[in-house]
């Protein structure tokens, strides 16, 4: 990865699409401070990243909920790690569990839930920390199409309440278009920003309807063409 420069505005929902192995996940890792760049710097709110920033939330591609903790313990983990009183953290967690639509499943263990429900737990776990920057690494790629559409709606709903800056990595162009204010296309390694599209769709969005507007189809086609150049050898 070389000379990659990308700026995300505050409160912006930015989606990144790109060919596999171009460094999308690496980018996110650098923003979190989990894997620091070998040379160069990443700045968050104008400050260089040196460790893990508490204002960042991260939703992983794989299941990253803790299998030995039930739903409420999973969700209340963030505040507890950050020193909140256990009772208070649980109350707050119960509130977030209700918001992601899992009320009644507080004392279930992750293995008793479906993939989509586990993703909801992961969302609640992240949102409870009220991150200013939300990084998502293909969070819905393991879900089936219907669940994915539901989760996208859910995510937009949660996001519109708090308006965090979002960097959403995906390989699904339609998903990127449906969710984001701006879609950034990366080129194959060494990754550079190939093109960037503002998405003119209005908010609040109804994803299913938005998919069928002419703007949506036109943009989808243009991004496809961009990506095709990168994927074909």
């Amino acid at each position: 990865m070389r000379d990659m420069s990308l700026t995300v505005q505050e409160g912006e929902f930015c989606a990144i699409v790109g060919p596999t192995g171009c460094g999308k996940s690496t980018t996110l890792g650098m923003i979190t401070g989990l894997n620091p760049p070998s040379t160069g710097t990443v700045r968050v709110f104008g400050k260089e990243v040196t460790g893990i920033d508490p204002r960042i939330g991260f939703v992983f591609q794989a299941d990253a909920v803790f299998p030995w903790k039930n739903v409420i313990d999973n969700v209340s983990l963030g505040p507890i790690y950050r020193g909140m009183d256990k009772e208070l953290a649980k109350e707050k967690a119960a509130e977030w569990i209700r918001r992601v639509g899992l009320a009644g499943f507080e004392y279930h263990y992750p293995h008793q839930l479906s993939g989509g429900m586990r993703k909801r737990v992961a969302l609640a776990q992240t949102f409870i920390n009220e991150p200013k920057i939300l990084l998502m690494d293909e969070p819905f790629s393991a879900l089936d199409v219907q669940t994915r559409a539901l989760m996208q709606e859910e995510l937009l709903g949660l996001w519109s309440e708090k308006k965090a800056s979002v960097v959403f990595v995906t390989h699904d162009i339609e998903e990127a278009l449906a969710l984001a204010d701006r879609v950034v296309v990366l080129s194959k390694g060494p990754a550079i920003v190939k093109s960037s599209y503002e998405i003119p769709l209005s908010r609040p969005r109804h994803i299913l309807e938005a998919r069928h507007t002419p703007e949506f189809m036109d943009l989808s086609k243009r991004i496809w063409t961009d990506l095709k150049d990168e994927v074909t050898i």
Binding site: F58, F60, A64, F66, W68, G78, Y81, N129
Partner: protein, 284 residues
């Protein structure tokens, strides 16, 4: 219409439950039959002079020996007392060895530098046949209980250490990254992510290592002691009393089975978050 469907379903369910019950009963009966069959063949072989009871003893003689031990006591004292001594040594060795193994495993697993420095020595120590250390311990700690405890500790430590270390190393990277992002410190990650995920490894090793602790205690008593089941075996061996050796073995087997049962209870309690294990049809 739906009623007949309901009835069909519950009939099918009842049928399946009946099959499972029958299978469980069959297993129980076959187990008993195998034990009775083996023991009868053994007894018959001795009675009909195919086997020499001097070497192989016979089930009835072993039972007689056990009854004598239980009612009149052994040459060293009451059987219960001897058993308690051995149990005390085993349990103490098991506890100390497991705790040390878990602590070292977790600390080294979480600290790359320490792991790189210590690993070569631990491998070396692990390569020594540990039973020979028993002699050293008898010299150091004398004929009392502590030499046996020390041997049991050494037997247990390496098994538990190896598993705890491996369990820590294999903790899911994603879960650890998630915990850090949620705001955990390194210490919190160790306690809330690494140790719980290493727990299934550690518990698996405890099953094996209780047996090892028992071996350590008994071998220690063998090498030199005043009390215990190991001494009972050594005495029986010295007087060519094969029934005595077998009877002591049975006592040890009962102890090991009881411990296994308790450990399984503990495991089920601690790992209740795990999904039900997949059971292969026909092999479960």
């Amino acid at each position: 219409m739906s009623n007949t469907l309901q009835n069909n379903l519950s009939a099918a369910e009842a049928e399946t439950i009946k099959k499972i019950k029958f299978r469980n009963k069959l297993i129980f009966i076959l187990r008993i039959a195998l034990a009775v069959g083996t023991l009868s063949i053994w007894e018959a072989a001795v009675r009909f002079k195919f086997l020499d009871p001097f070497f192989f003893s016979q089930p009835s003689a072993i039972v007689d020996q056990l009854i004598v031990w239980l009612t009149e006591g052994t040459s060293q004292g009451p059987l219960m007392y001897e058993l308690l001594i051995t149990l005390e040594e085993t349990v103490l060795g098991f506890l100390i060895g497991s705790v040390l193994g878990i602590v070292f495993g977790v600390v080294l697993g979480r600290n790359k530098l320490a792991a790189d420095v210590f690993s070569i020595y631990i491998k070396m120590a692990n390569a020594i046949p540990r039973v020979v250390l028993g002699s050293i311990f008898i010299i150091i700690f004398g004929l009392g209980m502590w030499s046996k405890v020390a041997l049991a500790v050494v037997m247990v430590f390496f098994v538990v250490f190896g598993n705890a270390f491996q369990g820590v190393i294999e903790a899911d990277r994603n879960l650890i990254a998630n915990a850090y992002i949620l705001g955990a410190t390194k210490r919190q990650v160790t306690y809330t992510v690494v140790i719980p995920s290493a727990l299934s490894w550690i518990l698996a090793s405890l099953h094996v290592s209780f047996g090892f602790a028992l071996v350590g205690a008994v071998v220690g008593e063998f090498l030199g002691s005043r009390h215990g089941i190991g001494l009972l075996i050594a005495t029986a061996q010295g007087s060519f009393n094969a029934a005595g050796v077998f009877a002591a073995m049975i006592v040890l087997a009962v102890v090991a089975l009881g411990a296994e049962y308790l450990l399984t209870l503990l495991e089920n309690k601690l790992l209740k978050w795990r999904p039900a294990q997949f059971v292969e049809q026909g092999h479960g």
